[in-house]
Amino acid sequence: MKVIRILTNAPAGIAQSCFFTITFLSLLTPALALEGQVGIHDPSTIMKCDGKYYTYGTGGTALVSDDGWVWRAGTRATRTGAAPDVIQIGDRYLQYISHGTFIWSKSLDPESPDYQWHDGKNAFGMEGENDFMNPIDPGLFLDPTTGKLWVVYGSYFGYLRVVELDPDTGERVDDKSYNVAVNCEAATIIHHEGYYYLLATHGSCCAGSNSGYNIRVGRSKNVTGPYIDNMDIDMMLGGGKLVCGSRTRLIGPGHFGLIDEGDGVQKFSLHWEADLDRSGSFGILDILPLLWKDGWPVAGQHFKAGVYEIESVRTGSALEIAVEGVPVGGGRGGARGLGGRRGGGGGATTVVPDQDVAEVSVNWPKGDIDIRMAIYMCQAQQKWSVTPAEGAGGYLGGPYFKITIAGTDRALAAIEGGELVSVPEFTGAPEQLWRIDQLTDGTWRIMPKSIPNTDEKMALSAIGHSFATLEKYDPDSEKQRWIFNLP
């Protein structure tokens, strides 16, 4: 968040008028973007508290969601400012705001008896008259290897700086500080496989579709730096490998906040400076998968609705309903001596049409049909339409999907005992709703919203070579990793 340093720490309501006016829009959003009221600039790392999700933004904006997909206006914290960040430590939620303002509460739910923001001591700020930095945009990091709490802060001009905080009191530990980057903002630190990663936002905010915001990263063996990018350029010299830039019709990503869902599923919160499908409006909350490639974090993607072959990483075979496949047609081509013609020789090339599911499904059983795996042969029983289930809600960063045989209403469903079947008609029942999460290697995990007669969470799993089932998710196994291939 680019804010000049005349901002002061002020109670909610007063500071708000000093900030950009944020237009909160409750729009019927296009598919695969968060739904509901998602207008926010500089969202804090999303926190889960008593089953709900919370984020706080610049100017006192607060958003809350029951499922992480549909959002609505939340309750302003007692102190607001620019680009706050929140972290949970023990039974407390610590919120740091611009210029080191620090408040804490035991709950983020205003309905909870534990909800009360307490003022803490200022934790950081400018260090002297000529300090070359802008002490806003805090990003909090609890080091999993040491238990130490750090905050990195700074914005727009000057340095990004790291100082240590006391995780018990939230206060600054000492007067040591470490400059780790320059002329960027909205930073945070994460730890991954022995490295500390400093994620910061380069470019400029607050110009809508003309904003050059983009999220960059450098890494270090020490939390205090130096943070070096993939081209060996220190972030103190402007370095930073791209994590997330503008894409599709979304412009200006900023304010990375890690959400580790466990089991190898990582996501991050951010805002887009402009979403061209939402009037190019200013500050739109989003949640994207976080992938890791060659030791570097990379933004994943929202699942894109469409028709796919669903391929098992483990077996390389495709999910299908257990019906007799019909060859897609065409000549045998290229096989001299087998009665075919060599490809390209002789007659004119023709396009073999896609299999007509209406035609081949005539012979399929009318009731439930088992699910299995087979080599992909471009056949109708192997092509799945994956689309958001309208009005079915979602999960953190995604809507529930219905998965049907393309061109039919025959739907993939979980059944009692943790097995699978295809039912002749999609009804919207929870066992027919599917959660699709991109994993850190870019493959996908597919989980039913519920399984009849059990609360156990399971994921679509390839077992053996030719069968699929539901099993407890094992992040170390390829059994539950899937690839969506365009047919």
Binding site: A322, V323, E324, G325, A374, G417, G418, E419, I463, G464, H465, S466, F467, T469
Partner: protein
Amino acid sequence: MMISQWNFHRSLGVVWAASLCLGITVVSGSSANDHETFILTPQSAQKAPNSDGFIQLWHLLEPISASGETQNAVQATVKTEHFPGQFTVVPKDGDKVTVNGTELTWHDVDTNKYNINLYYFAQAHRKSPSGALFWAVTVINCPEEMAGVRLAVGSNSASVWWVNDKEVIGIYGNRQTVVDDGISKRLTLKKGRNVIRGAIVNGSGAADFCARILDREGKPLKNFTIHLN
């Protein structure tokens, strides 16, 4: 379909006739020390699964002529009643049935491999392994009820499998035997006797199958015994 071991061995000059003289024990190889045993005469009517959990003791019926490896063709083949009690019988060695006017014999077989080689079994009984339907039956005895387990099979080519008279697996098409190719849904084995029945349909060339039970974690189950009677 891959080139069968039989054709390969034949090219090496396997003394095939000699193996036939050994009954259903097939020996191949180019020297006395270079042989493999695929099908054995059981030395006992009871056996534990091997170290990888494979079930090695079976009743096999000499092959029935059959064609078609697709799902519909195989289902039609195996659902046709070829002989009385085909879905219920637990035969004894030497029992005979008549199929389409041809008398066929049940044989008890054992192996020290993971799989039962139907190609050699058919050859040993002077039957064609191609265009053939093989019936296989065995009984496993469980010390206690075992819930959440799965039957896991591989077959060359298509096959359909039943556990305690319930159809649990169907794998179709021209396929190689791959360990744990077809897996049943979770099932419960009773304490005591459980009957496993398979019907394997082979188009041409190599023919074999393997079967084992997987526990809840997908690991081979070994705490049961296999019985021929």
